[in-house]
């Protein structure tokens, strides 16, 4: 055992992660160049480029630092995102980006956690994690790049493919009623739910900022066209293609869950903007509270002393 016993300096505990490097000189906002990593492998014209560009803008505008953000994704075209960003990143497994990100969020309160992924990743294989991350209200920002199709695996029906969509797994058109992501998210208890599209970058950036500022689990369902396998899917939402981009009515009360659900019931292209927002406490905060209470009782004790007290009761 000696061999593997590693000496680690005393440093306190999980809730007291020391700040990285004290900002001695005021740092300049990161530039797009500093933030760009691998050249994106997306098809030219893919909607995902817009989301990436706006993420760079967000980081720049909000003066986030490389080391302070974690960029996480599952598997899919959209999920290749972290490779293109210069920051600690993880390209995880299909559908499980949220629990992975939750592990970061709950163990490292000092980091901004951003998750990116596709509709298959989010609503098909990952659907249940979405529900439970939402109800637990674990702090992070999640952008679902919904292209209504499986891009990476080359055109199978996705859980958001509309009825009649012809794919390799539905040659005569999809017959399974698609998921309504907004309804799912609202019903699951997500505390910030917004809808955006890659063709309206200003609005999308606005949503990303609001999501980041929200203290809780914030989700943006973002339409992001797959030019390779579902060209024109979102034309009806794009004014430049003769479509209509309608924002959430000013009269809408974002804290009214039933009203939000009703908004989500509108047929495509529906509304864009924040549908729902609630200030209920995050799991992060609730766990911190449990910890604070527990540590009050052991105040001043070293970790080994706390354990010693337990062992004394086992004699």
């Amino acid at each position: 055992m000696n061999d593997t016993a590693i000496q680690v300096p005393q440093r306190g505990n999980i809730t007291s992660v020391p700040p990285a490097t004290p900002p001695d000189a005021p740092r300049q906002p990161l530039t797009k160049k500093e933030l760009s990593a691998d050249h994106p492998t997306w098809c030219p014209g893919c909607g995902d480029f817009a989301v990436l560009a706006l993420y760079f803008k967000l980081v720049e505008k909000r003066k986030l630092w490389h080391e302070k953000i974690a960029t996480v994704a599952g598997i899919g075209c959209s999920s290749r995102f972290p490779y293109f960003v210069q920051a600690h990143g993880a390209h995880f497994i299909h559908g499980r980006a949220l629990p992975f990100a939750s592990g970061i969020s709950l163990s490292r309160p000092d980091l901004h956690v951003f998750v990116f992924g596709g509709d298959g990743d989010a609503y098909s294989i990952g659907g249940n994690h979405l529900t439970h991350t939402a109800r637990k209200n674990i702090k992070m920002t999640y952008v679902v790049m919904d292209n209504w199709v499986y891009g990476l695996t080359k055109k199978q029906t996705s859980p958001t493919s509309p009825l009649g969509f012809k794919s390799k797994t539905d040659g005569s058109g999809a017959i399974d009623q698609p998921i309504n992501p907004m309804k799912q998210l609202i019903a699951a208890g997500a505390s910030f739910v917004a809808r955006a599209t890659h063709t309206n970058p200003n609005h999308l950036l606005q949503m990303m900022e609001a999501a980041m500022d929200h203290d809780g689990f914030s989700v943006i369902e973002c339409l992001s066209e797959c030019v390779e396998f579902y060209e024109g899917a979102f034309d009806a939402s794009n004014p430049r293609k003769g479509g209509k981009f309608e924002t959430v009515p000013a009269s809408h009360d974002v804290t009214d869950e039933v009203a939000a659900y009703k908004l989500a019931d509108a047929p495509f292209p529906g509304y864009f903007g924040v549908f729902y927002k609630s200030g209920r406490p995050t799991k992060n905060a609730l766990e911190a509270k449990i910890n604070a209470d527990a540590r009050l009782k052991v105040a001043g004790k070293k970790d080994w002393e706390i354990l010693q007290a337990t062992f004394d009761r086992l004699k």
Partner: protein, 605 residues
């Protein structure tokens, strides 16, 4: 107790005192009777008396209770197993009497609740029967309503008297146990205890006294394997974990969920086993090596995520508290049949570390070792415990916590540059997220094959080299593992080889066999993947290597560890000794099987 009682006194003779060095007592009743609690008190008392102790229990698989037993073996010498045969059987019901009399050694004592049990005249000839109206005396002592919960404490009193146990210590244990509750609870527990203690057995039974145990330098603590594992993880510095409930793993997560907040840590109950593995990996990625765990079905579900941790080189500790069978199987029985999935359960070439603790105490130290290996080699480490270690109570020397406890808070000091997957053979610990990298080049952790920096690469040579890199980490570890020690002489006829929970009964079998003049030694492996060095030399010293496992003999006639060893060493003398009855190996069973296998010429497969 067996060897220490010289002659049983004739029935009705005067009470006398016999010195004994150990005793095996089995309590048989229903799960509601709180017989686990009697065992718990006895075990804890033994710990405080510097005695060795080991327990064994069965839990009914049905929901609404059912037959349940608890067996405790207390000794002044070394106790290696919970005991094959009982010296004393305490039987609460006719079914307890009928089904467990067979577990009593001939001439042993059966103490039965005469309010329920009608003794069998045939058996009265073979066993010493002692009738006690347990139920009615308990009711008398504490009133009717509480009887269900009082019978056990009454019985504890009876046993205390019979074995001349330390009453003040027991009283203290009782008041500690019930202290948190209503005062009347403590009071009626004490009444029940004293009613039992006062009940006169003097007419029929001598008193047994344990010989003074050798003085221990350190105090003992008494706990189950699941407790030892949970506390070992805490001592190791684990401050984050995630899991989903399943028997017999749940207890570990329940302890961690309750205890971690005191240390500023968090344990999350997730929606399923997949999410929990992923969450633990996420925390490990972020710089906090974390734990997940499960049993049976839940282990099958974690495979994909574990594979990512292998590929991305992220530390992770996975506890598998093995139970019986494939599928839902036998949730409350013991089996050692997850070794294959632990070593080979991932798609692709997916090397991970597998360690099996050999007993309760070892659970504590294995947890620390696992955490340190996971961190040092950035690799998932699977701890293979099992239902029998998990639920049995043992006394162990108190660990030196001040020295052992680790602080694993991540170091976030800036680094100049960072290469997560170097091809120069270096083992790189994970750099915690949050660490500034002055070169401005940040690493990506990925499950795709990648180059040294973590960027996806499909280049043939890269995959070849990275596959070798992942394998070599295990080879490096293997070279540094301690060579395991043979129990008994290092050369001889038969080597009994086991892993995990079988260490106790195997060693006891060696003791017994050697006492009978047979040339038998034993080896218990803790490191199963990679295997430790030096095995070939050890095997060279024996004519036969019998691998004792609680799993199936397989299509080709050997168990899971035997298969791994046969592949590794190509020695036909490595053969299997297997069983799958959901129970721990008994000492006698091992000896009989060895004898019959040897008699049959230890057929080569």
């Amino acid at each position: 107790m067996s060897e220490s009682i010289v002659t049983p006194p004739v029935n009705g003779g005067t009470a006398k005192v016999s010195k004994i060095s150990e005793a095996v007592i089995r309590f048989a009743g229903n799960s509601q009777d709180g017989i686990q609690a009697i065992g718990g008190f006895l075990a804890r008392l033994a710990g405080r008396s510097e005695q060795e102790v080991m327990t064994f229990m069965t839990i009914p698989a049905t929901i609404s209770g059912g037959p349940s037993i608890f067996q405790v073996r207390i000794g002044s010498g070394e106790v290696l197993s919970a005991g094959d045969e009982a010296d004393v059987l305490v039987a609460f019901y006719p079914h307890s009497y009928e089904e467990h009399i067979g577990a009593l050694r001939k001439g042993g004592i059966v103490l039965y609740d005469s309010d329920h049990v009608q003794p069998n005249p045939e058996w009265e000839k073979q066993y010493r029967h002692v009738a006690v109206p347990i139920t009615s005396r308990t009711v008398e002592a504490i009133g009717g309503t509480a009887k269900d919960k009082g019978k056990n404490i009454f019985t504890l009193g009876l046993v205390a008297k019979m074995f001349d146990l330390n009453v003040p210590k027991l009283e203290r244990l009782i008041s500690e146990r019930f202290g948190g509750k209503d005062e009347s609870v403590v009071r009626s527990a004490m009444s029940a205890f004293h009613a039992g203690y006062g009940y006169s057995l003097g007419e029929v039974l001598e008193t047994f006294q344990f010989r003074e145990p050798a003085r221990k330098d350190r105090q003992q603590v008494v706990m189950t394997g699941n407790e030892a594992l949970a506390y070992g993880l805490i001592a190791a510095g684990i401050r984050f974990g995630a899991a989903y409930p399943i028997t017999p793993w749940s207890e570990v997560m329940e302890i961690l969920r309750r205890e971690l907040p005191k240390y500023g840590g968090t344990f999350v109950q997730c929606e399923d086993e997949i999410a929990s593995a992923c969450m633990a990996i996420g925390a490990g990625w972020a710089g906090r090596v974390a734990v997940t765990g499960s049993s049976g079905p839940g282990i099958s579900l974690k495979g994909e995520a574990i594979g990512w941790a292998v590929m991305a080189e992220v530390p992770l500790v996975v506890c598998d508290i093995q139970r019986g069978g494939p599928a839902t199987g036998l949730p409350t029985n013991v089996e050692q049949s997850d070794l294959n999935i632990a070593c080979y359960g991932g798609h692709g070439d997916s090397p991970r570390v597998v360690i099996a603790p050999v007993g309760v105490e070892d659970c504590f130290y294995t947890a620390i070792e696992a955490v340190n290996i996971a961190r040092k080699y950035s690799v998932p480490v699977i701890i293979l415990s099992d239902q029998s270690i998990a639920t049995r109570i043992e006394a162990m020397e108190e660990p030196k916590l001040e020295k052992l406890c680790q602080d694993l808070t991540p170091d976030l000091s800036a680094v100049a540059d960072y290469t997560p997957y170097p091809l120069d053979g270096t083992v790189t610990p994970r750099l915690a997220a949050g660490t500034p990298i002055l070169s401005g080049k940040y690493p990506i952790s990925t499950g795709l094959e990648h180059d040294e920096g973590g960027h996806p690469s499909g280049a043939p040579k890269m995959h070849l080299q990275m596959t070798a890199r992942r394998r070599r980490k295990l080879q490096t570890l293997a070279a540094q593992l301690p060579q395991p020690q043979v129990y008994g002489p290092p050369e001889g006829n038969i080597l009994l080889l086991g892993w995990g929970s079988t260490q106790g009964p195997i060693r006891e079998a060696v003791d017994r066999a050697r006492a009978a003049g047979d040339s038998v030694s034993a080896l218990n492996l803790r490191h199963l993947n990679p295997l430790p060095p030096g095995l070939e030399n050890i095997f060279a010293g024996f004519n036969h290597v019998l691998v004792v496992e609680a799993n199936d003999e397989g299509i080709y006639g050997y168990g899971q560890l035997a298969g791994i060893l046969r592949a590794r060493f190509c020695l036909p003398k490595i053969i299997g000794l297997n069983k799958t009855d959901g129970l721990t190996w008994r000492v006698g069973e091992i000896l009989e099987r060895v004898k019959s296998d040897v008699a049959a010429g230890l057929r080569r497969l």
